[in-house]
């Protein structure tokens, strides 16, 4: 750090609530700002104001979900009636929707595509990222620069030929183009994982070499287990990206039975007998069905989502 540590002023440092036995050294970046300050009435008041403000914004961010859930359990005439808990709740909206549209098919397709996309991209990106972190060979920096350059390339430029390539290979109107591109790694994940592999001490690999392990073995048995957390970050990121994608399903899927959930939801929005008839409760139910699996995945992998996204900022 270029900035010289300034001595902490009187009062602020002396009264800091350091637990007995701990060394009273301020660790930059590891301490929340309030922890090092005395709780004067003014600071308490400040904190209350902040929390009230944050609660207000939380309401703005979260209330639409609750409203959507509530709308999905109402009748058409009740959707906009400003009653939060529908009485009685119309759970049959969901069964009606599933009866009308092949929603279960779509859910299965989404599941297959997301899991395949996340698995393949994690393995392939880890393989490539490890090569960039581990091997020393001429042209490495040039190739890695190329990886970074593709990060800035807008996907829309390659969209049309990519469609033509999959079409040429006979995979138009199939689920394959939605995940198989991930067999070849993804620039962003390669970049992210390389940073993690570089933190592993080289001696570890050298010792394994002496013991006769080949490079593939070193990658699989030493490097991968040690970077498990980063691999989970990549996996959940891609799971989310594949699950939520609309563009590729719009381009490649033409049979209704092949649709993923987002493509299916767009079809429901477009459907004149639902959107046109203003059966909003069915739209809302479809929205809930598409979103809930992601919310579950998010709560299971919350730590990885939030730490992963924070890491992108500092590495970028």
């Amino acid at each position: 750090m270029a900035i010289e540590r300034t001595p902490v002023g009187p009062g602020a440092g002396a009264a800091s609530p350091a637990a007995p036995g701990t060394v009273p050294v301020a660790l930059p970046g590891t301490q929340s700002r309030t922890a090092s300050r005395p709780m004067t009435p003014r600071r308490i008041a400040e904190r209350v104001v902040f929390i009230v403000l944050l609660l207000f914004f939380t309401l703005l961010f979260v209330y639409p979900f609750i409203w959507l859930l509530s709308a999905s359990l109402k009748t058409t005439t009740e959707v906009f009636n400003n009653v939060l808990i529908p009485n009685p709740p119309h759970f049959e909206n969901y069964t009606n929707l599933i009866g009308q549209q092949p929603v279960l098919n779509w859910a299965w397709n989404s599941f297959v595509v997301s899991v395949l996309a996340a698995t393949t991209v994690t393995i392939s990106s880890a393989l490539v990222a490890f090569a960039f972190a581990y091997f020393r060979f001429p042209g490495r920096n040039l190739l890695f620069g190329l990886v970074l350059a593709t990060l800035l390339l807008p996907g829309t430029v390659t969209m049309i030929p990519t469609f033509l390539i999959w079409n040429f290979l006979g995979f138009n109107n199939s689920l394959v183009p939605l995940w198989a591109g991930n067999l070849f790694g993804s620039a962003f994940y390669i970049f992210l994982l390389r940073q993690f592999f570089m933190t592993l001490p080289r001696e570890l690999f050298e010792a394994a070499r002496v013991d006769g392990a080949n490079h593939l073995r070193i990658w699989w048995s030493i490097a991968l287990p040690l970077t498990r957390a980063a691999l989970v970050v990549v996996f959940v990121f891609e799971l989310k990206a594949a699950w939520t994608d609309l563009l590729k399903p719009l381009i490649f899927l033409h049979d209704i039975a092949l649709y993923t959930l987002p493509r299916g939801l767009k079809a429901i929005v477009d459907n004149p007998s639902i959107g046109g008839q203003k059966e909003w409760e069915l739209l809302a139910a479809a929205g809930v069905i598409v979103t809930v699996p992601m919310i579950i995945v998010f709560f299971l992998g919350q730590r990885y989502f939030l730490e992963g996204i924070a890491t992108t900022g500092s590495k970028g």
Binding site: G9, T58, F130, N167
Partner: protein
């Protein structure tokens, strides 16, 4: 790895060669992917932009620069570019300011409490774009949608967000602002790395809250700030899924003229709905150049405004 010895600068030892072959083996997925899904598509797309290719006929007759000459005379391109710029210029500063504000609030209340709020703010980010679009068909509905009901609570009569051309884009900005959780989380992480002592020192020196923010916080988070501004600008220019859900596909034309026609939406329509892939490729290359120029300008500006701790 054992040290690499070189017999001569031009001749590789057996070990060098072995290392190189292993490296290529590990890199092969990416190399194949780069050639097949980046290099060839880029060249192909450039070629297509000089043809009037349509997959319906399968022919790709060369038309020279005709596609590029048509772009400036195409009123839809002008409209789409204007709408996209309007959205980007409104969305990027608003999302940045709101994110800094919320991230600063989070940073002031201590880590344990902030976890709950971060989760809440991030939730809209994991919502599929189609679901966001669908939700906002209902939120922005007039007169009884969630937003106008909320405004009515304060005695304000909200506009017709989905039909009035003047209010369409502000409505879309509101929808996209709903998903700024990712930006908040990134900026929050950057704020947490600002040493508390610096603030305390500045406070003792008599700096007020604004001065402390301007002279201590802002320089130290400028790297992350620059990152989110670039990412959000590129994403805003390529706005598609959410607005396509509301205004695209079969719903196209249901809404006031082309007020909701964004650049990538038009590109998509040309490529995959009317199948004019030659013209669409030219549009894609124009977008590539625009994004490139804007990113280059932002990188240039960053040299002046971003503070790097180690030099």
């Amino acid at each position: 790895m054992t040290a690499i010895r070189r017999a001569s600068p031009t001749r590789w030892s057996r070990e060098d060669r072995s290392t190189f072959l292993w490296a290529m083996l590990f890199l092969s997925p990416w190399i194949i992917g780069f050639v097949v899904f980046t290099a060839i598509p880029m060249l192909w797309s450039l070629f297509l932009s000089f043809t009037s290719y349509s997959p319906l006929t399968g022919n790709a007759p060369l038309v020279g620069l005709a596609n590029y000459q048509r772009i400036p005379t195409d009123p839809k391109v002008t409209t789409a570019l204007w709408n996209t710029m309007y959205f980007t210029v409104l969305f990027v500063p608003l999302s940045t300011i709101l994110s800094i504000f919320l991230a600063s609030l989070l940073n002031r209340i201590g880590n344990r409490t902030s976890g709950f709020f971060r989760t809440a703010f991030y939730l809209p980010n994991i919502t599929p774009a189609v679901a966001t679009g669908t939700l906002f068909i209902l939120v922005l509905a007039n007169p009884d949608g969630l937003l106008n009901s909320f405004l009515r609570f304060f005695g304000i009569t909200g506009p017709s967000w989905l039909n009035d051309p003047a209010w369409l884009k502000p409505g879309i900005v509101i929808m996209m602002l709903w998903s700024i959780g990712g930006t908040i989380v990134i900026l929050f992480a950057a704020l947490r790395n600002v040493p508390a002592e610096l603030h305390e020192a500045a406070e003792i020196d008599g700096a007020n809250t604004f001065q402390r923010f301007r002279n201590v916080t802002l320089p130290l988070i400028s790297g992350a700030l620059f990152f989110v501004i670039i990412i959000n600008t590129i994403a805003a220019i390529q706005l598609f899924s959410e607005v396509y859900t509301i205004f695209g596909g079969q719903r196209q034309g249901a809404v006031g003229n082309d007020a909701a026609l964004f650049y990538v939406m038009y590109l998509f329509r040309e490529a995959f709905e009317t199948f004019r892939m030659g013209y669409a490729s030219a549009l894609a290359w124009l977008l590539f150049v625009i994004v490139g120029i804007i990113t280059a300008i932002q990188f240039r500006l960053s040299k002046r405004f971003v503070y790097y701790e180690n030099g």
